[in-house]
């Protein structure tokens, strides 16, 4: 099977369609034309840059470059987790908790998947390690951000309830128990829905990409199953770790609810 390479003028043809959409939305006064075009331009620039970096890393194939790239991806993901929270923990805790829990779960699941399951030689071969880490980080990031956002929002809204439970002598972890569970659940819902709908409602993006690039569907399906499993595991443990650490940080050593540790509150 041969792969048809896309030339830049072919992509330019596709961009004409985006321009058509922008023109239409302008005429329909949706006020979206500008942001649509900016987003499309960002896609081109960011992906082209990442393509260059990937080409370089693939060519070098050295562990230290792969590690550096992974570190950059992790820090960007950590920043994004922080940005997606309406109320965040002060003093670097929002970034720290998000980044550390993503590091613990996404990196260990990636290494485990490479070494134990796929087994490329060497184990960090960029063709395998970078896409898997990227998918894991992206999804874990969503889970961690959703979970932390739900947690901080929940304790803010239910402050009186948590404190009434504390007044009755409940330990902090019991008083915040339902909110914490709810937060972990909301982080896990996207991947559970994606697994439940996979192949029926839509063809997963990674599998589609592999098929387009010439992989036989039977192999693409197996990789998709693998990736969904590891995403579920990475997201699950990452969200659990982040929400647990976040909840702990919202109470002090005297088991007092400390909303003053969140931004946007007194």
């Amino acid at each position: 099977m041969t792969i048809i390479d896309l030339s830049w003028w072919q992509l330019a043809l596709a961009s004409l369609l985006v321009l058509a959409l922008a023109a239409t939305s302008h005429l329909a006064r949706l006020g979206m034309a500008r942001s649509l075009l900016v987003a499309a331009a960002r896609t081109v620039i960011q992906l082209a840059l990442v393509g260059l970096v990937l080409e370089l890393v693939f060519e070098l194939g050295r562990l230290r470059w792969i590690a550096l790239m992974s570190l950059v991806m992790l820090l960007v993901a950590g920043r994004e987790v922080m940005a997606r929270q309406k109320y965040r923990l002060r003093g670097g805790w929002a970034f720290g908790i998000g980044t550390l829990s993503m590091f613990l779960s996404a990196f260990s699941v990636t290494v485990l998947t490479l070494v134990v399951i796929i087994g490329p030689d060497p184990w960090y071969r960029p063709q395998y390690s970078i896409p898997i880490l990227g998918m894991l980080l992206g999804n874990t990031m969503t889970g961690v951000a959703l979970g932390l956002d739900r947690l901080t929002e929940g304790v803010r809204r239910q402050r009186a309830l948590i404190e009434n439970r504390l007044m009755l002598g409940q330990p902090w972890n019991v008083a915040v128990g339902e909110i914490r569970r709810d937060a972990v659940r909301s982080g896990l819902i996207p991947i559970i829905n994606a697994m439940a709908a996979a192949g029926i409602v839509s063809l997963p993006g990674m599998m589609t990409g592999q098929i387009l690039a010439g992989t036989p569907p039977a192999i693409a399906v197996k990789y998709q199953i693998l990736i969904m499993f590891v995403i579920a595991v990475g997201t699950g443990f990452g969200t659990l770790a982040a929400v647990s650490a976040g909840a702990r940080r919202l109470f002090d050593a005297r088991e007092r609810l400390r909303l003053d540790r969140l931004t946007g509150t007194g």
């Binding site: 009186a160 309830l161 404190e163 009434n164 439970r165 504390l166 007044m167 009755l168 002598g169 409940q170 330990p171 902090w172 339902e178 002090d252 005297r254 088991e255 007092r256 609810l257």
Partner: protein, 203 residues
């Protein structure tokens, strides 16, 4: 839960919170000290500090138990604050009770089946009375009451006062009671302190 009987007097030692000057105060077993003052004067915050719900200066003692040396949830289970607006998190009343409500329901003019009521259908007055029963069923050894009759009609107020005073006396509970109504303060308090300009004054 705390079946070893009354623990002793409640003592505030230089407790400072917010704009309040440090407060030192002793509440004897079975006695009620009423606190009053304009809204925002810091009455509720003082109760919260005694319950260790917010950072504060100074320390508190219940008999020989020190707040700063006791795990926070143990302290709060003994020195129990009951907020003006009670909160409920399960679906029915009964699920919030650790222990049997006993004859408290009847004493507060609530039917025996009130424990099976759903939270959604409770009036504010019913919530307030049930919250008192819920807290006292856990057998605290000191009480911090924040306007415990604010949502009640005149007849219920008297009934709740009588019931609370009987328990406070029988179980020998030192009690801080935030109240507005001068007549109520007269009826329930052994001593009345007024918070004005960040300071506690004898009234």
């Amino acid at each position: 839960m705390n079946s070893s009987g009354p623990a002793g007097d409640l003592a505030l030692e230089d407790v400072s919170v917010g704009d309040l000057e440090p407060v030192s105060l002793a509440v004897s077993r079975g006695k009620v000290i009423c606190l009053s003052g304009a809204s925002g004067s810091g009455k509720t915050r003082l109760l919260r500090a005694v319950a260790d719900l917010e950072p504060h200066g100074g320390d508190c003692r219940l008999g020989d138990i020190r707040q700063s040396e006791t795990p926070a949830h143990n302290w709060r289970a003994q020195v129990m604050m009951i907020p003006a607006e009670s909160q409920w998190w399960h679906e029915t009343v009964g699920e919030h009770f650790d222990a049997d409500a006993g004859d408290a329901l009847e004493a507060l003019d609530l039917p025996g089946e009130a424990t099976s009521w759903s939270i959604d259908r409770l009036s504010s007055g019913e919530k307030q009375r049930l919250a008192l029963i819920r807290a006292l069923a856990r057998e605290p050894r000191a009480l911090l009451l924040d306007e415990p009759t604010a949502n009640l009609d005149a007849e219920s107020i008297k009934r709740v006062e009588r019931w609370l005073l009987e328990i406070i006396e029988r179980r020998e509970l030192p009690t801080l009671w935030v109240a507005h109504d001068a007549e109520q303060i007269q009826r329930v308090s052994n001593r009345h302190l007024l918070i004005r300009d960040g300071r506690l004054e004898e009234s």
